[in-house]
């Protein structure tokens, strides 16, 4: 079964701190995504990638970096965390993009105090 695993599941950090969210997929999918979910805004795409070493910006990339180290692994980096980045973050993967099923992880709850 398709699997996307995120870690950690919960994280609290201070304003100005560094945070790395990790994601691994075992679907052999080309595309991986990072979304944030906030009440009233739904799911908003931060960054995505179509392969190792590739990075594309999404709709809300400001304040975030990302890196795809392998086919399986995609990381989201917050180098100077701010309270506005308190959110629920989802990693996802898909075989193609635009019109195919997207498989999501269980999410990471990030709180910036």
């Amino acid at each position: 079964e398709a699997a996307v695993t995120q870690s950690p599941r919960n994280k609290v950090t201070v304003t100005g701190g560094n945070v790395t969210l990790s994601c691994r997929q075992t679907n052999s999918h080309n595309y991986m995504y990072w979304y944030r979910q906030d009440t009233g805004h739904g799911l908003r795409l931060i960054h995505y990638s179509y392969g190792a070493g590739n990075l594309q910006i999404g709709d809300v990339p400001d304040g975030y970096k990302a890196t795809r180290t392998t086919q399986e692994d995609f990381f989201l980096l917050l180098e100077l965390a701010s309270p506005s980045q308190t959110s629920l973050y989802f990693c996802a993967s898909s075989d193609r993009t635009g019109n195919t099923e997207v498989f999501f992880g269980k999410g990471t709850r990030l709180t910036v105090v």
Partner: protein, 111 residues
């Protein structure tokens, strides 16, 4: 969101009732996907309808797509308490351009 959007709604209905949720989008799409997100979980695809289909059924789910009005709907018949979730639509013009998700409809089904 430019593509695939619906107004955030919160609906509360009694178990056994039917419900319909709507999604409107602003640009061309080849498919509309509907996802369900239960509490504490990530969204999961429940039904996909293509632009050459007007209706798609899966069990108690029925999706419609009207490309002329750029709108889609998801209906659930005979709702169960386990249908309580947030429902998202997602649209994308074609392969190679990422899909965008709507703001979601929060559905509560009361036993």
């Amino acid at each position: 969101s430019q593509w695939g959007e619906e107004n955030l709604q919160a609906l509360s209905i009694q178990e056994g009732e039917d419900v319909t949720m709507n999604c409107s989008y602003k640009t061309y799409t080849t498919v509309v996907q509907w996802y369900r997100q239960k509490s504490g979980k990530g969204p999961a695809l429940i039904i996909l309808i293509r632009s050459n289909e007007r209706e798609k059924r899966s069990g108690r789910l029925r999706a419609t797509l009207d490309t002329s009005s750029q709108s889609s709907s998801l209906s659930i018949t005979g709702t169960l308490a386990t249908d309580t979730a947030v429902y998202f639509c997602a649209t994308g013009p074609n392969s190679g351009t990422y899909q965008r998700f709507g703001t979601g409809t929060k559905l509560q089904v009361v036993p």
